[in-house]
């Protein structure tokens, strides 16, 4: 069975700051089918029209978070956006807003990852030995499925940066950690293996910290993995001011005999 083929116009933001090239759009005519994604179309243009087109991608299945870009005015993953669902004959691709631009559609994530690193995104627990000399020294936590459900959705973050580029606070405040980092702060706060709550509260509770978020909800609106960063941030605020319950009991370690 043959599938209907359409012709669309792909407008791609082009620039190369190393060559003093001024920003402009290049247009490519691409044949697409019902299932063609924006990434497929960009790779088609790169293969058959202009091999110098700068794009970053890897998994092609919304798992690596590499191909984030602004597509028809909204931050989206190119591999996860089908052209047919955009209902437009012209597809405009821009680099992700709020990220430094390197070339064409490729942006620099250094600052974004620095914000993520700053909130110490790993389990803090003094009861667990960090240095494991022998295999027998390995321990594990006892955690129920209900305990896991409290943070699981936030752990699905693929660090694609779409929430960061949609956030109106990030647009004006360079020191604001952004929705990704703040929701990860909540992810570890909600995890009952972690006891580093006060450490993280001190990190996010500062002048350019969590209180700069005013629940515009744009981060959750664009998140391709259902992480819902806005939910995590508001719940974290609730914990900080003591309104929402934080009845977390730190998980115990499973003994060797168990």
């Amino acid at each position: 069975m043959s599938e209907e083929t359409n012709k669309i116009k792909l407008k791609v933001y082009r620039t190369n700051y190393n060559k003093e090239e001024s920003p402009h759009y290049d247009e490519f005519d691409v044949s697409v089918k019902r299932w063609t994604t924006v990434l497929d179309a960009l790779l088609d243009a790169k293969s058959y029209s202009d091999s110098s087109l700068g794009i970053r991608y890897s998994c092609r299945m919304a798992s690596c978070g590499s191909c984030g870009m602004k597509i028809n005015g909204r931050p989206r993953l190119a591999c996860y956006t089908k052209i047919s669902e955009l209902n437009d004959q012209t597809i405009v691709c821009d680099p992700l807003p709020n990220f430094p631009r390197i070339r064409d559609l490729v942006t620099d994530f250094t600052e974004f990852f620095a914000h993520h690193k700053k909130i110490e995104p790993y389990i803090h627990n003094e009861k667990v030995p960090i240095d494991v000399a022998k295999k027998d020294d390995l321990v594990e936590f006892k955690q129920t499925p209900e305990d896991v459900d409290k943070y699981l959705q936030f752990s699905y973050c693929i660090k694609c940066g779409l929430c960061y580029s949609a956030c109106p606070t990030v647009a004006t405040d360079t020191k604001f950690p952004g929705p990704q980092a703040l929701s990860q702060a909540y992810r570890y706060t909600a995890d009952n293996r972690d006891s580093g709550e006060s450490t993280r509260f001190n990190i996010v509770d500062e002048r350019h910290g969590i209180w700069r978020c005013h629940f515009a909800g744009s981060c959750s609106n664009v998140c391709p993995k259902g992480v819902d960063p806005a939910l995590g941030i508001q719940l974290l605020k609730g914990h900080l001011i003591g309104i929402t319950k934080n009845d977390k009991k730190i998980a115990t370690l499973r003994s060797k005999e168990e």
Binding site: F99, P100, T169, F215, A216, G217, S218, A230, Q234, G238
Partner: protein, 161 residues
């Protein structure tokens, strides 16, 4: 070889890769479209907040004219008795109503109340926090602001006293 952001210009030295800041700045929040009702509410809350602050400063200036006598006060009041003055007051009524009601909604949502609980996300990944329960607060704020402006308009331009 390293990557060095340079938001001021495109210059760099040595083997650094040149970058250009892509930060949206004020334009980032001045455009309320594309991201749903919460973004519209964020935009309106800021605009009405700034507007009301300007009004508040003007209001202090207006009432301070009392110290210059009744004539100064009356001439200041006349400014609001024009069509332009009435339209300005209508905007103040709408802005203050929206800002108050939406502000109440934000007090709850930003405290983690009414935005749902975390759970296992399922495709198509509708965000729990963008639920209709808290979203209806925006619509109520807009509705009440419209009603307040209509009533204010009837008092100022019509026969209602």
């Amino acid at each position: 070889m390293g990557i060095k952001p340079n938001s001021e210009n495109n210059s760099s030295t040595g083997d650094d890769i040149r970058l250009k800041s892509g930060r949206e700045g004020l334009m980032g929040w001045l455009n309320p479209t594309r991201y749903g009702w919460e973004r519209v509410s964020y935009w309106l809350q800021r605009l009405t907040g700034v507007g009301l602050l300007i009004y508040f400063i003007g209001h202090i200036y207006e009432t301070s004219s009392l110290v210059n006598g009744i004539n100064a006060w009356n001439s200041m009041l006349e400014l609001t008795q024009t069509t332009g003055g009435h339209i300005f007051l209508l905007l103040v009524i709408g802005a203050s109503t929206f800002h108050t009601v939406n502000g109440l909604r934000l007090i709850f949502t930003e405290s983690g109340i009414g935005i749902g609980r975390p759970g296992r996300p399922d495709y198509p990944y509708d965000a729990t926090s963008l639920n209709y329960k808290q979203k209806s607060g925006i619509w109520v704020a807009l509705l009440l602001a419209t009603i307040a402006m209509l009533y204010g308009g009837m008092v100022m331009f019509g026969d209602v006293t």
